[in-house]
Symmetry: C3
Subunit: 264 residues, 3 copies
């Protein structure tokens, strides 16, 4: 796969502090023809898991050869490695702390390299902002055609990230809320595999002591204000309220238990 000059950014830097703009300035100083798409800069501070989930669910929609630059890095300055990752369809640059593993696996992981080549860095390298001094310039060089192996020695494996797995029980599934989106939709960790184990018209889901038994093809299948179950854009079971917020309705957040059962 060859780089296409496009770099996406996914960070927990927010948009007030100019940290993201500074990274783009550094990258354009390496190569003024690079192009950027922001995935999210509002990953909750230091939440590697939410950054990893957002990245995993976005990268498949970008053209071949895109460089995905991701920085959620509570361990900046520690022994965690900065890495470059090559997959069948795209490249990744970021800290090897679990952030990249699921997205890279989804695109067909080929090889990872530890970033050690200081010639690719911005000098001097600060101890607090590797996004600016290490990750951004390496991403820019990579997107400009520098071969990934120039970053440093090959790594055997990326650090994985544990995501809570749904538990298959005798008559159902015990899961939880993985993510709450802007609309208050509750994205659970229950996927097609678990759903397909049960007859869809007999499935019901309980959250916060409320049972919902409508697994529907679209929001419009229920009246405004009604709760519903739907397979959402992440390919996972979502609990939603039509034209409302399921998070508010059920007082739910990341980690809230969700149980799926089969009615009679």
């Amino acid at each position: 796969v060859s780089p296409n000059g496009l770099i996406t950014l996914c960070t927990d830097f927010g948009t007030q502090d100019a940290y993201v703009g500074i990274m783009k300035g550094v990258m354009l100083s390496v190569n003024p023809s690079l192009r950027f798409v922001d995935l999210s800069h509002d990953v909750p501070p230091q939440s590697i898991r939410i950054g990893a989930l957002l990245l995993q669910n976005a990268v498949d929609y970008f053209p071949r050869g895109t460089v995905h630059l991701a920085v959620v890095d509570p361990g900046v300055g520690t022994a965690r490695h900065p890495v470059v990752v090559v997959t069948d369809r795209a490249f990744f640059v970021g800290p090897d702390n679990g952030l990249l593993h699921r997205a890279a696996a989804a695109l067909g992981l080929r090889q990872a390299y530890r970033i050690e080549n200081e010639q690719l860095f911005r000098q001097p390298v600060s101890q607090t902002f590797h996004g600016r001094d290490v990750f951004a310039p390496v991403a820019a060089h990579l997107a400009s055609g520098v071969p990934p192996r120039h970053a440093g020695p090959a790594l055997d494996a990326l650090r994985p990230l544990a995501i809570p797995e749904p538990k298959l029980l005798a008559g159902g599934v015990a899961g939880e809320v993985l993510y709450v989106d802007r609309f208050g939709n509750l994205i659970t960790n229950i996927g097609m595999k678990e759903l397909h184990a049960f007859p869809p018209d007999r499935v019901s889901v309980t959250i916060a002591a409320v049972s919902i038994s409508r697994l529907v093809p679209s929001y419009a299948s229920v009246p405004a204000g009604a709760p519903l179950l739907i397979v959402g854009s992440w390919g996972l079971l979502e609990i939603a309220v039509r034209e409302g917020s399921a998070a508010e309705r059920f007082g739910a957040a990341v980690g809230t238990p969700v149980s799926l059962a089969v009615g009679s």
Copy 2:
């Protein structure tokens, strides 16, 4: 009018969830040379009216041939039509739920087409994220030169959107707050037509039981902290507080009544 390769985006998707980045990835997968400008992604969830107002007041500032992609779509998955709209100066892509009508009319509506041509879609089409699977790829094809009529059959009319109209009374106007901007300026539905019906130096406006009688040419016409009346960048009467927030001062929000009267 010919497309110029520029696409603006106006949605209620927020910027945390990567939904906007995903739409851009889909569009760049259609045509990597497209360029984007974000109008707003912080339209309040499912507020068609605020999306329509922001769009209407922004589109006039873009070059000829721009494609305006707007998605505020509480009816995703229902019978509302996805549409392409051609105007004298620009194109629109979005749901036909009132979101596009005022902006399209402002640029000289020529013809609308119902989007039905699945060859322009991203497959498979989800039931929950037509922004990604329908609107984004259609906008990308349109901006790349696919003729609008390829989208589907011509539509007779776009669905209009009712915006509260000011009421002309014997000695004044009964209006309301249409929009509150970031600075707390209160944009009313009272326009130049209503204002010109009265002598400007005798106009006073009452909001939340407070009367303001200064229709001024600029914020600087009053001391810091003083309220004022001004014709703002939307061409509508705004109630502002110099270097302060009128929304806070008057406890006002969208819908708060505003009455204009002529003093003696």
Copy 3:
């Protein structure tokens, strides 16, 4: 220095209201090949000082010939001058109210010009939105090669901005918090000069009655949850909490006093 076609934007316009998108539309109407990087649009409303600090700490990371467009303009419509500024490495466009001075000085101020040439404006010029009608089109013309002196007459000096200076005392320094970033890191006004006046291993800093005596090279030098002192990406002393928020821990905000002392 020649313009490179890149324009950065730093404003207090927020991202909900489409004001920023409108400015980009105006600039692309002048020259469709311009490129943009957002520094921040979440400068607190009308906070010239925070806008100036963000700008000062970002501009050094952009390529030669970049135009920095900055609009934090509580005096819009008053006698404050709109200006174009030429430095050794870049250009600035904005109001001469203190916003530009420090950033321009950091890049080597050469010459400022008052913006008076109405041929460079968008007509008609509103009284409330010079960002759209004056600053954006002037920045676009400048980035497209119009010589800065075409903007208007040369100015003798830019208006400076007073930033609270640290006070050197007999056995230490009295400073304060200049900025709180997204992570809750407290950026103080104590710089390398003041720090170097004391032996680093004997320095301690007191904030909110708590003493911190760890001036460390990286966050990882202390356990998670522990407070620390570090020289941050602005080159200033920062008070941080590893994987936490110092602003929350110490109830601190912009202006909170910080005292540095030398222990025995």
